[in-house]
C-alpha cells in the first residue's frame, strides 16, 4: 500500500444499555482490555430505547458501522426490553439489507455486566469486519458533509 494513503479508520457507534453492556464496557476498561478507539459508546437505559431512526441517522451522518448491545435474553433489567430490541433490529436490518447496506455493518450483541472480555472481543471483531468493508457511502447524507 502506498504511504500517502491514510489507513481507513471506521466510525463506529455503539449503543449500550446502562445495566449490562455499558457496565460490561466499563469492566473491559477496568481490566485494561484493548479495543480500537473508533468505537464510541452512547449510553441508553435499555436496548429497547434505541429507535431504528438513531441507527439510520448514524449512517446518514457517515457512520460505517453501528452495534447495539444489551443484556442477555431473559436478563433484561426491564424484563422484556431486549426482546423488543431484537425484533425491531431484525426488521431494520432486513430493510438495510434491501437498501444494499452490507449486513456486517450492523450487529446486535448481548453483553452482560460481567463480560468485559466479551465486550472487548466483540468490538475488536466488529471494527475489523467494518474496516474490511471500507467506508459506508450508500446511506450517507451528502448534505451533512462540509
Amino acid at each position: 500500500m502506498p504511504n500517502e494513503v491514510k489507513a481507513f479508520k471506521p466510525k463506529i457507534v455503539a449503543f449500550c444499555c446502562n445495566w449490562c453492556s455499558y457496565a460490561g464496557a466499563d469492566l473491559a476498561g477496568t481490566n485494561r482490555l484493548n479495543y480500537p478507539a473508533d468505537v464510541k459508546i452512547i449510553r441508553v437505559p435499555c436496548s429497547c430505547r434505541v429507535n431504528p431512526m438513531f441507527i439510520l441517522r448514524a449512517f446518514q451522518r457517515g457512520a460505517d458501522g453501528v452495534i447495539l448491545c444489551g443484556c442477555h435474553p431473559g436478563d433484561c433489567h426491564y424484563t422484556t426490553g431486549n426482546y423488543y430490541a431484537r425484533r425491531r433490529m431484525t426488521l431494520l436490518f432486513s430493510m438495510l439489507d434491501y437498501l444494499g447496506i452490507e449486513k456486517e455493518r450492523t450487529r446486535v450483541e448481548w453483553v452482560s455486566a460481567a463480560e468485559g472480555a466479551k465486550f472487548a472481543a466483540t468490538m475488536n471483531d466488529f471494527v475489523e469486519t467494518v474496516t474490511r468493508l471500507g467506508e459506508n457511502k450508500r446511506l450517507e447524507d451528502l448534505r451533512c458533509k462540509e
Partner: protein
C-alpha cells in the same frame, strides 16, 4: 443557548497518563455554548467538586459536562455537587473518558482525540437537557428474605430486631439450610446445630418474622419500596396450623424406603416426614411421590394416627400475595454434580463420598449416629484420602474456574477430627494450594498438620479405582517429592466445588437482578457496594453472591440487613425522574405504547382539546404514571407518532450524541 462548563478530570494519572487533558479542555472550550473549561487532578475530591460549584455560581452555568470516570461511578457525586450550587442535578452529563477511553487505549493522540469527541457528544446532549424534578414514592415497611439458611436467618433476625416485619420464604420444609447438615464448624469446632438451632427458634418465635416454609417465590412485580410478590405455598398435605410435630405419623407410615435428603440419601425416611428433630417449623410433610394414599388412595394411616387432625390429602398449592419494600436474596449454594469427574470413582464405589456426606457420617444425628463407618460394609476405615479442589479452580471446562473457598478449611477440619477420634487412622490430604486466609484459619490448618499428624501432600489425584476386595486404589502424584504414589484407601472424600443453587437463575430473571457467568448474583460495586444488587431494592446475602464460609456469610447477612433497615427507615423514596412522557398534542391514542410497557405504567385518558375554531374535541390520549414508569423507553420506540419521549434520554438528545460522534474530522 445554554451556558456550559466543562470539567476535565486527570484522575491522577489514570486519565492524564494517556489522554492529554489540557488539550481536551482547550478543544472543548471552543464548542458552542461552552463558557468555562478547566482540568483538574481529581474532580471527585472536595476541591474538585468546589471547582464545579464555584464555576456554576461565578459563570451562571446552566449545564455541566464532567469528563471523568464512568457515570456509574460518580454521576451521583457530581449531580449532588451541582444541586448544592443551585443547579438542577439533571443538567449534569458525564463523558466517560476513563473506563471507555484512557484505560483501553495506549496511544496518547488517539485517546485524546476520542476523549474530545466523547466530550463533544456530552456537550451536545447537555444543550438539550431540561431540569427534571424527582418525584416521591412510599416505602412499604416489610422485607422479604428469599432463602432460610444461615444467611437468610441472620438477615431476617437483624431486620426484625430493628422493628420491621420480615417474611422468610424457604423452599424446603424447614429453615436452616446447609448448615443444619454440618457437624462441626471451623475454626472453633463448635457444633453447627448448637449455634444454628437457637437462631432458627428465634426466627420462629420472633413476632416480626413470618416463615413461609416449603414455599417458593412465584412472581415479582413492582420496584424498590413497592414490590408485589406472589408466594407459592406448596401443598405439604399437612395443615401447618394444626400439626404439633409429635412424630406419631412419621413413626407409623408404612412406606419406609424413601431416600432421606437430609442425610444425602445415605439412609431412608418415610413418605411422611419431618426432615430432622430440630426442624423449624416442626411440621410433617407428605412426599406425594411415595405416599400410597396420594398415589392410589390406599392407606390413610397417618390421618388415623394424627391426634390433631392435621392431615389433609386434598391440600392444594396456595398462592399468597404480599407487598414488600425490599427483597434480600439468600439462595445459597449446592455442591456440584460429579458426573464429569469419573476418575474419582464416585459413581463406582459407595466408599467414595463428598465432603457433605462425610459431615453426615460424622454427625451424631447422621445415618451412623456419628461413628465413622464405611458406607459399603459398615467397617471402620483405617486409611482415608481427602482430595481437594474437585471441580474447583478447574479450567478444563468440566468444573468451575473459581476457588470454592471453603474446602481447604473444612478438609483440615475433617482430617483433624478424624485423627482426634480415631488416632489409628492414616489421613492423607491431596491439595493444589492450601488457602487459609481468615482469622485463626492458618493456625487451624497448621494444627491439623503439626499436632494431629495429617499427611498433607501437594499433588493431584489422578485416579481412584475400586478393587474387588473393597479397597480403593488411589493414584496420585507428589509434586514436591516428584514421585507417583499408590495408596490403598478405605475411604475417599472429595472436596466438591460449590455452585449457586439452581433456583437462583429463574429468581434473578424475576427480580431483574444481574448474575455473573457462574450464576452468582453480581453486586452493585465489587468493593463499595458488596451487598446490594445493581437493581434497586434487591440485596444479597450469603453464598448466592459468591462462595463464602459461615463467618463471612453471617457478616454479609448483617450488612445486607443494615442496608435493608436503611431503606425501610425512610418513609418516602425519591423516584427516578428519567421517565417517559407523552405529548398529548401528538398522541393519537393508538395503544402501541401501552402494549409494550412492562410495568403497566401507561393508561388512557379522554382529554378535551380546544380547537382553533373555539370548539372543543375529546380525544383519547396516553398518560404515563411517573411513579410506576421505570424509564426503559420501550414505549418511545413503539410510538408511531413520536408523541412518547423519555426524559433524560430524549430522541433529540440521543440524535445529538449520534451527530456529535459521527462528525469527526
Amino acid at each position: 443557548m445554554q451556558r456550559i462548563g466543562v470539567f476535565v478530570c486527570w484522575c491522577g494519572s489514570n486519565i492524564a497518563g494517556t489522554v492529554d487533558v489540557k488539550a481536551v479542555s482547550e478543544a472543548l472550550s471552543h464548542e458552542p455554548g461552552v463558557v468555562y473549561s478547566i482540568n483538574y487532578q481529581y474532580m471527585c475530591s472536595e476541591a474538585g467538586q468546589n471547582l464545579v460549584k464555584d464555576a456554576i455560581r461565578d459563570y451562571n452555568l446552566t449545564g455541566v459536562v464532567i469528563c471523568s470516570c464512568s457515570p456509574r461511578m460518580h454521576e451521583n457525586t457530581f449531580r449532588k455537587a451541582a444541586a448544592s450550587a443551585g443547579l438542577n442535578p439533571y443538567m449534569v452529563e458525564i463523558a466517560n473518558i476513563r473506563e471507555q477511553c484512557s484505560w483501553i487505549h495506549k496511544d496518547m493522540p488517539t485517546a485524546t482525540e476520542k476523549a474530545i469527541i466523547l466530550g463533544r457528544a456530552a456537550i451536545a446532549k447537555v444543550h438539550l437537557n431540561a431540569p427534571l424534578m424527582a418525584g416521591e414514592s412510599p416505602v412499604i415497611k416489610r422485607a422479604l428474605v428469599i432463602g432460610g439458611g444461615i444467611a437468610g436467618i441472620q438477615t431476617a433476625l437483624d431486620i426484625a430486631d430493628a422493628g420491621f416485619e420480615v417474611d422468610i420464604v424457604e423452599k424446603e420444609p424447614t429453615i436452616g439450610g446447609k448448615m443444619t447438615q454440618l457437624d462441626k464448624t471451623f475454626p472453633t469446632l463448635d457444633c453447627a446445630a448448637c449455634i444454628l438451632t437457637p437462631k432458627m427458634v428465634d426466627c420462629a418465635q420472633h413476632e416480626k418474622i413470618n416463615i413461609f416454609s416449603f414455599s417458593e417465590v412465584e412472581k415479582v412485580k413492582g420496584f424498590v419500596g413497592n414490590f408485589h410478590v406472589t408466594i407459592k405455598k406448596k401443598a405439604r398435605f399437612v395443615d401447618e396450623t394444626k400439626c404439633t410435630g409429635c412424630g406419631e405419623c412419621t413413626a407409623k407410615c408404612p412406606v419406609k424406603g424413601v431416600p432421606n435428603e437430609f442425610n444425602l440419601g445415605m439412609d431412608n425416611r418415610r413418605a411422611i416426614y419431618i426432615p430432622f428433630a430440630q426442624a423449624v417449623p416442626k411440621v410433617a410433610t407428605i412426599d406425594p411421590n411415595y405416599c400410597n394414599m396420594l398415589k392410589n388412595g390406599k392407606c390413610g394411616l397417618c390421618a388415623k394416627v394424627c391426634g390433631a387432625g392435621a392431615i389433609d390429602y386434598k391440600q392444594q398449592d396456595q398462592f399468597v400475595e404480599r407487598e414488600y419494600g425490599a427483597i434480600v436474596v439468600a439462595t445459597g449454594f449446592n455442591p456440584i454434580k460429579l458426573d464429569q469427574f469419573d476418575e474419582f470413582g464416585y459413581s463406582q464405589s459407595k466408599d467414595v463420598i463428598t465432603s457433605l456426606e462425610f459431615e453426615r457420617l460424622t454427625n451424631a444425628a447422621g445415618p451412623t449416629s456419628g461413628t465413622l463407618l464405611r458406607p459399603s460394609d459398615g467397617k471402620h476405615p483405617h486409611t482415608i484420602v481427602f482430595v481437594q479442589c474437585v471441580g474447583s479452580r478447574d479450567t478444563s471446562g468440566c468444573g468451575k474456574t473459581y476457588c470454592s473457598r471453603i474446602c481447604c478449611m473444612y478438609t483440615a477440619k475433617h482430617a483433624m477430627l478424624t485423627r482426634e477420634k480415631y488416632p489409628d487412622t492414616d489421613v492423607y490430604v491431596f491439595y493444589i494450594d492450601v488457602r487459609s486466609p481468615g482469622k485463626n484459619y492458618d493456625e487451624f490448618y497448621r494444627r491439623a498438620v503439626e499436632q494431629y499428624g495429617v499427611h498433607y501432600i501437594k499433588g493431584m489425584v489422578g485416579k481412584v479405582a475400586p478393587r474387588a476386595d473393597g479397597k480403593l486404589m488411589v493414584q496420585a502424584s507428589d509434586l514436591i517429592a516428584g514421585e507417583q504414589l499408590h495408596i490403598e484407601a478405605d475411604l475417599v472424600v472429595l472436596a466438591t466445588a460449590i455452585e449457586p443453587d439452581k433456583t437462583a437463575r429463574p429468581l434473578a430473571t424475576m427480580l431483574t437482578a444481574s448474575m455473573d457467568t457462574n450464576d452468582f448474583f453480581t453486586e452493585a460495586h465489587a468493593k463499595l457496594r458488596p451487598v446490594e444488587s445493581p437493581t434497586a431494592g434487591i440485596f444479597l446475602s450469603g453464598a448466592c453472591q459468591g462462595p463464602k464460609d459461615i463467618p463471612d456469610t453471617v457478616s454479609q447477612a448483617g450488612a445486607a440487613a443494615a442496608k435493608v433497615i436503611g431503606l425501610l427507615a425512610k418513609d418516602k423514596l425519591t423516584t427516578n425522574p428519567c421517565v417517559a412522557e407523552s405529548n398529548e398534542l401528538m398522541c393519537n391514542g393508538c395503544s402501541s405504547c401501552e402494549k409494550v410497557c412492562p410495568y403497566g405504567a401507561i393508561t388512557y385518558l379522554d382529554k378535551e382539546f380546544r380547537m382553533p375554531d373555539r370548539t372543543t374535541m375529546v380525544r383519547r390520549v396516553a398518560s404515563v404514571n411517573p411513579a410506576v414508569c421505570q424509564g426503559c423507553g420501550a414505549c418511545t420506540v413503539a410510538c408511531p407518532s413520536g408523541a412518547m419521549d423519555l426524559k433524560g434520554f430524549s430522541n433529540s438528545q440521543i440524535m445529538a450524541e449520534v451527530d456529535a460522534i459521527c462528525q469527526m474530522k
